[in-house]
């Protein structure tokens, strides 16, 4: 079967720092995979490369067999890759609900200047997603004053509203309290399975990885240094040595 995302020989450096140094990986449709690795190992950079925010100096990214390597973020998004951010990226002049409605509108038809954003169809679609992430109570709150944990959720809600085929989540559970991690990941992964969305998430909590990932990729200094089923990889002594220091 052809992988939905296929990355070959990806390189980029920032002022001498090799943030991607020959990354290679394949993800298959329907999988939920995790990335682990120390801070600064290039996990976020990898997501930036896949979504067009950072242009690689070398290498290719294939989505559904088509090269997307040098496309800008908006074109990649329109092809069906959405992402949530390590640092939540919200429209701080809008409420949580409006943030998600904007994503819903973007996903259907943003270019018409007549009907209001605040319309029944968009509203219902957005509320369904907020419901999923238990964000209903914050729907009308302005995002500028939202606590970090909820900002993180709102950020994920926007990504989900885009109905992607591939979802990239950068540390979805950071900033979320330990007690809430499991319920959050439960709902996200259940949603992913139900909607048949392929996903990749960056994670520092090994329990979360073991519980939810079909496969895990271990990152170090800009490259994949190990991969496989969590039960093998997470108990591999050399991986533990590499990652445990920070995890």
């Amino acid at each position: 079967m052809r992988p939905i995302l296929s990355v070959r020989d990806l390189h980029v450096n920032f002022g001498g720092v090799k943030s991607a140094d020959g990354v290679e990986l394949d993800i298959h449709a329907g999988e939920v995979v995790a990335i682990i690795g120390p801070n600064g190992s290039g996990k976020t950079t990898f997501i930036n490369l896949c979504t067009g925010y950072v242009i690689p100096t070398r290498g290719t990214v294939l989505f559904d067999g088509e090269p997307i390597t040098r496309l800008p973020p908006r074109k990649i998004t329109r092809r069906g890759i959405a992402r949530a951010f390590q640092i939540p990226q919200l429209f701080t002049g809008h409420s949580v609900l409006e943030n998600v409605m904007l994503a819903v509108a973007a996903q259907s038809d943003i270019w018409q200047p007549i009907g209001p954003l605040n319309r029944e169809t968009y509203r219902e679609a957005a509320l369904r997603i907020l419901d999923l992430l238990a964000l209903n109570d914050s729907a009308d709150q302005p995002t500028a004053v939202l606590p970090e944990g909820l900002r993180k959720l709102a950020d994920i809600a926007i990504a989900i509203a885009l109905k992607p085929r591939l979802l990239l989540l950068d540390e979805p559970t950071s900033g979320v309290s330990t007690a809430e991690k499991t319920p959050l990941m439960d709902t996200i992964v259940a949603m992913l399975r139900a909607e048949q969305i392929t996903a990749l998430f960056v994670e520092h909590d090994m329990d979360v990885v073991e519980r939810y990932a079909d496969r895990v990729f271990v990152w170090d200094t800009g490259r994949v240094v190990a991969s496989g089923h969590p039960s093998e990889v997470l108990y591999n002594p050399s991986v533990i040595e590499r990652v445990v220091g920070v995890a």
Partner: protein
């Protein structure tokens, strides 16, 4: 909500000149500037400041003068054509401008307006140079009206134009496209990650704001009967910004309130402060920014909500 305010303003502006007749002209000119300031306000919604927006005001005004020179005499045709011509100019200039944000956007707009001012002043054979061009009294729906009758009709048309433009802009700002414009100010990167071209969103706003300024320029050209290069000068751009900020950008009536206020002040101040008019504009701009960031319309809205809410 907005409709109520607009009707209120339209009634006041329509009726006052019946008592004080010279107000009719002042209000017509104010609506011309208000339209242009509404264009400035649209861009402000996206966090962009054009300090050269008088460019489009002047394009609308000169387009009107040239169309009349080309023997087009019908007012409605003039307005429609001038607005379209300005929108087209907005599309060309905007295609370049939307690559920039912040100070680059502001200054590049200023630069283009200065170049245009220079051209208007220097191309004497075409534009009449610093003397400008005369704009005769057009016909209205084929009728040749006397100047007083025409001015009264023009005043009504201006009010209709104001209400129509304000309602259209209001719809636009509330639509997904208008909301995406505000999203540019707060997080343009995320907007791109929604699959939306921020430049595209901005270009629509830019063309709309140019068209409004063009309509305002056309109205002013006909009302004043004369166009001069100063229509494109930065002093007018400064006034447009002040009008937008003073009126408040939280709602479409804002720029018109600002325009009426400023034109009235000017009518009274012109006798003793003509030389210092720009300084007054500058000082007012600072005062508004420091002390009334939400503008007159914001204050109006706030007072009203406060009066309506029963005491808690």
């Amino acid at each position: 909500m907005v409709v109520r305010y607009l009707i209120g303003i339209a009634v006041i502006v329509g009726l006052l000149p019946l008592a004080v007749s010279w107000l009719g002209f002042v209000f017509t000119v104010a609506i011309g500037k208000g339209l242009a300031a509404l264009g400035v306000a649209i861009l402000l919604r996206g966090g962009m400041i054009s300090i050269g927006h008088a460019l489009f005001f002047a394009i609308g005004a000169y387009a009107t003068a040239f169309l009349m020179r080309g023997k087009i005499n019908e007012l409605i045709t003039l307005f429609v054509c001038a607005t379209f011509i300005t929108a087209a100019a907005g599309l060309v200039v905007g295609a370049f401008m939307v690559r920039y944000r912040g100070i680059f956007f502001a200054m590049l707009n200023l630069a283009v307006s200065m170049v245009f001012f220079t051209l208007l002043s220097k191309l004497y054979h075409l534009t009449g140079g610093t003397d400008g061009m005369r704009v005769m009294t057009p016909t209205l729906l084929g009728m040749e009206l006397s100047r007083p009758a025409f001015e009264q009709a023009l005043q009504l048309i201006a009010i209709v134009l104001m209400v129509g433009a304000a309602l259209a802009v209001d719809r636009y700002l509330k639509s997904p496209l208008g909301q995406a414009l505000s999203a540019i100010e707060t997080n343009e990167v995320r907007l791109e990650f929604l699959g939306v071209s921020a430049r595209g969103v901005l270009l629509v706003a830019y063309v709309a704001s140019a068209a409004l300024a063009g309509a305002g320029g056309a109205l002013s050209a006909v009302a004043i009967g004369h166009v001069v290069p100063e229509f494109s000068y930065w002093t007018l751009s400064g006034q447009l910004i002040l009008i937008a900020v003073l009126g408040g950008i939280s709602g479409v009536p804002g720029p018109f309130i600002g325009a009426f206020f400023l034109e009235l002040v000017r009518t009274f101040a012109v006798g003793f402060a003509a030389d210092a008019w720009n300084a007054i504009i500058g000082i007012s701009l600072l005062v508004v920014i420091f002390f009334l960031p939400e503008g007159l319309f914001g204050i109006l809205q706030r007072t009203e909500t406060r009066m309506r809410r029963p005491k808690a």
